[in-house]
Symmetry: C2
């Protein structure tokens, strides 16, 4: 049974202070935090299931499952052998740094190398809040369309990595990966774009390689 | 060329007052307002294109296109012969009643029978704001999954009608319409659920019939 915790939004002007507190807390235990953002139903939980399986044995993982309500995702995560903390955001459509700090403080961080925050399904507000993560990853799912960077530019600007999920359905939805790359380039030329299918498993190994390289680089960097 | 207007969010506590102002403004000209809500990429604009075509000749239609940025949707709407007003929400992830009022005031409402507000792509915050609409319609697209009512309950509670779009892909995504109905029932037993494909056109006629019945009922009711 996963823990369920209720968190309260912090004062927006103080978000950077709380983000610094999150970083300090994580540095003390050499724990890394990844902020995973996407629209509802883009495949965040499925991706995490595949990621936990892909890193199994190498890293101790916990997942903060942020939702307005429900705990279905936490149960799915725990079935894959990772610790899950279900966060109820009290109606908030995003996680801020204060909420993230409240959730992290429920864990003994010495026990975990890597923590994923599965943010609330939303392409707008989560992009505005630094939660103190080491890496920002977003999922764009193919059925949403290759024009989404034009409509939700901030999310595509702030992310380090864009996982293009459900890529096995690109022909059905007339999704053009090159058009997506062209739409992302002016916003974020450094963004890593990795097509995957969390359903068929196609491309997931590229994501795991990218993630392992990040984790190794972090381990060799100064804490 | 569509108009582009920048709107500013109102004070949240005053939203009901602004919603009443919207209703008063619309009643004076016998104009109806439909608030269309959905996740990014669920098919709001495609549905509106089909709807404008389906009602052509019978009703004079305008569309308020709310986006954080961009005007791609407004251009698509105008190509179908309806008036489009592109609203930039200044970073806001939803429309409130004050913003809706600002947008409506740019139109001569005597010229329109029916106005669609294409809300910002988001399943959380738009559900919290009464914008003064006569009808709330949401789109859930099949790739998002039949479990979404569990995770975004407020949206499924407040809506009058749920259009289940991209229904032609239900087998690919293992989407169970009965499971969706079962998930919606405890939240909103009166919700009308209509499966459609804005891409193939399948089921759209059922939505048009539903809408025409609403419009007729409104015309016969007291203003």
């Amino acid at each position: 049974m996963s823990d369920i915790i209720e968190v309260k939004a912090g004062i927006e002007a103080e978000n950077d202070k709380f983000a610094a507190d999150v970083r300090k807390l994580l540095r003390n235990t050499h724990t890394r935090l990844i902020n995973l953002m996407a629209s509802p139903g883009a495949g965040k939980t499925s991706l995490l299931e595949q990621t936990i399986d892909g890193l199994k044995g190498a890293y101790k993982i916990a997942v903060l499952e942020a939702d307005v309500d429900a705990d279905v995702d936490a149960k799915r995560i725990e079935a894959h052998g990772a610790k899950a903390v279900q966060i109820h955001t009290g109606g908030s459509c995003h996680m801020d740094a204060s909420m993230t700090l409240q959730a992290l403080q429920t864990l003994d961080l010495n026990e975990y190398d890597l923590i994923f925050l599965e943010n609330v399904g939303n392409l707008v507000c989560p992009a505005e809040f630094d939660v103190g993560a080491d890496l920002k990853v977003m999922i764009l799912s193919v059925p949403e369309g290759d024009d989404k960077p034009l409509k939700y530019p901030l999310m595509f600007q702030v992310t380090d990595c864009i996982l293009v999920n459900k890529i096995d359905t690109d022909e059905i939805f007339d999704f053009d990966l090159q058009k997506l790359q062209k739409n992302v380039a002016p916003l974020n030329p450094k963004a890593q774009i990795i097509p995957i299918s969390a359903f068929t498993g196609s491309g997931v190994e590229n994501w795991i390689v990218y993630l392992r390289e990040k984790l190794l680089a972090w381990n060799y960097s100064c804490h």
